[in-house]
Amino acid sequence: MEYPEDKRILSIQSHVTHGFVGNKAATFPLQCLGWDVDVINTVNFSNHTGYGTVAGSVVSSTDLEKLYHHIITTTGLEKYQCLLTGYIPNADLLEQIGMVGRDLKHKNPDSIWLLDPVMGDEGVMYVDTSVIQAYQSLAKSGGIDIITPNQYELELLLGSPITTELEVTKALDILHHQYRIKYVIITSIYLDNDKSSLKAVCSDNGDYHILEISPIIEGYFTGVGDLFSALTIDRVYQQHLHNGKNHKQLYQCISEVMQIMHKVLIITKQARELENCSQEEKSEKDNNNNNNNNNNNVGKINDGTMRFNELRIIESRYLFDGNN
């Protein structure tokens, strides 16, 4: 019998028992795509913080270091092909992750590290301010292959507003040439303050393309970035494998990922509408309008409708078979 090559990825992100963000959003699609995912959970939470309230605990940087160390020493499987890091709640943990990233790179120089510098979106920060500086030094310290900030995170990272194409090219220049990061994907950006058109920028060592993001599906969906980075690292890894033949450029990979994301969001929206209907029926029966005086469950932080907006990762499973 022939055995496919082992694909091992270490994913260091948050865990929520309920819902789909962080490792819960990334692990299942990657497993569907044939990855053995080693999952380090930076937090053990009931749900994502967008609900406004959570229960659970955060792992300490010492525990993170020891978990990593034991996996490397006891399993005897030293090589990871990929490292995926997302939401990291504090600077201590972030420093530890820098250590892990450099160590994996040292053990396997061909490995790929995708760093998603999760800090906030559209002017709202959702990490401690100490994290900004930690990301700035991490970004400079080398070893990162792919970085996926949104516009706000890019501005925090480089410490200046980035709103025009010229500013984007300057930012790309710093990330590629000073920080030696090969692939930069700005996952969402409004250029020239044109709020009618959301764009993404994909840059392979300065060769950049601007992609239109199809009209945003109304609503607040957490976990989109985490699913995006998981699908992206898989595509970029395949790209490395097939370097030379059937070569797809970065922007082609990313637009494929975005098409899948779009389908996931449509499935999510349909499921939301379905539950919204049954919820309305229920609330008529119960004559209980606490959460349902607003019939559009478009989901704003802590307004009680967040539960309808969890990504429907499981219902979307047919999209993660590698043929999409």
Binding site: M1, Y3, P4, H15, T17, H18, G19, K24, T27, F28, Q31, C32, G34, W35, D36, V37, D38, V39, I40, N41, N44, F45, S46, N47, Y51, G52, T53, V54, A55, G56, S57, V59, D63, K66, L67, Y68, H69, H70, I71, T73, T74, T75, L77, A271, M306, R307, I314, E315, R317
Partner: protein, 314 residues
């Protein structure tokens, strides 16, 4: 959407506990809420590990928060390895609360104590007592002890088919409220090439069993995978009509047939890996298969698998 709460351990590397249960269940369309009891680097049988245990009250707080913010109604609760009496008490409280939201919630309960005559939980005396009380009160729906655990829960030594039947009968006398009992791997001296997987329900005197050829390997996580698949298969078979013993028998055959492929693939992969690394394995050597190849076996969870076993009745 089918919702399931799985209260088990988390390992960063490998496939035991929630790592063994979650992916197959998700492939089968379950929205799995994975409530992790621990975060370990790997399973302890590797020889060394590092890990964090989550507090018993943290489990309860996480569960309560989910109910508060998301109003989830579970149709199944799965539980496995338990690290202390306090953790078990939290889980009981969770299941009792889940029943107030959905009276039909089914608790698939693996009463983990040990295996092959060896106990591997702490605080085993008080946990065994608590298990017995729980079984008497009838909170779990379906219970999956192994050979050794069934002996401990019934104070009956199992050495042949006759004493297996006695143990199952005694289980049903002691714990009449438990809907179904499945004993997962009975190893009898009279039939050393096989394991027996037997089941019975509290509305029938018969018990059914399957004879499963043994693999020459040690596996980790196979019980957790079995429990997860059984929950899924049982719920699916229950939807079609039939007697409860038939539902159980058909589910078991399906689950054992899927498990065969996962163990077979994992075992061969391990042999192949050992061979590639230049290790020579004597033909009769029992090899250690540390990690089930759950991801590589995806198709066995998504496609129909031919049933392999013939039902025996006793």
């Amino acid at each position: 959407m089918k919702k399931l709460l799985s209260i088990q351990s988390h390992v960063v590397h490998g496939y035991v506990g929630n790592k063994a249960a979650t992916f197959p269940l998700q492939l089968k369309g379950w929205d799995v809420d994975a409530l992790n009891t621990v975060q370990y680097s790997n399973h302890p049988a590797y020889g060394s590990f590092y890990g964090i245990k989550y507090q018993a009250n943290e489990l309860l707080e996480i569960y309560k928060k989910i109910v508060e913010v998301a109003q989830v109604h579970y149709s199944v609760v799965l539980s496995g390895y338990i690290t202390s009496k306090q953790h078990l008490e939290s889980i009981i409280e969770i299941v009792n609360d889940a029943k107030t939201h959905n009276p039909n919630v089914k608790w698939f309960f693996d009463p983990i104590i040990g295996d092959n005559g060896r106990i591997y939980i702490n605080d085993s005396n008080s946990i065994i007592e608590l298990y017995k009380m729980l079984l008497r009160q009838g909170q779990p729906f379906l219970v999956t002890p192994n050979h050794f655990e069934l002996e401990l829960l019934t104070d009956t030594k199992i050495t042949n088919l006759e004493s297996l039947k006695q143990a199952l009968t005694k289980f049903k006398q002691l714990y009449p409220l438990i809907n179904s009992i499945v004993v997962t791997s009975v190893d009898l001296a009279e039939d050393p090439g096989y394991l027996i997987c037997a089941g019975s329900t509290n509305d029938s005197d018969t018990f059914i069993y399957y004879k499963i050829p043994k693999f020459n390997g040690f596996f980790f996580g196979s019980g957790d995978l079995f429990g997860a698949l059984l929950a899924d298969s049982y719920i699916n078979h229950e939807a079609s009509s039939g007697s409860r013993i038939d539902i159980l028998a058909n589910s078991l055959n399906e689950v054992l047939s899927v498990l065969y492929h996962v163990l077979d693939y994992s075992y061969r992969w391990q042999l192949n890996t050992l061979a590639k690394s230049g290790q020579r394995i004597a033909p009769e050597t029992k090899i250690k298969v540390n990690d089930l190849k759950i991801v590589q076996c995806k198709k066995y969870f998504t496609e129909d698998v031919e049933l392999r076993y013939s039902k025996m009745t006793y």
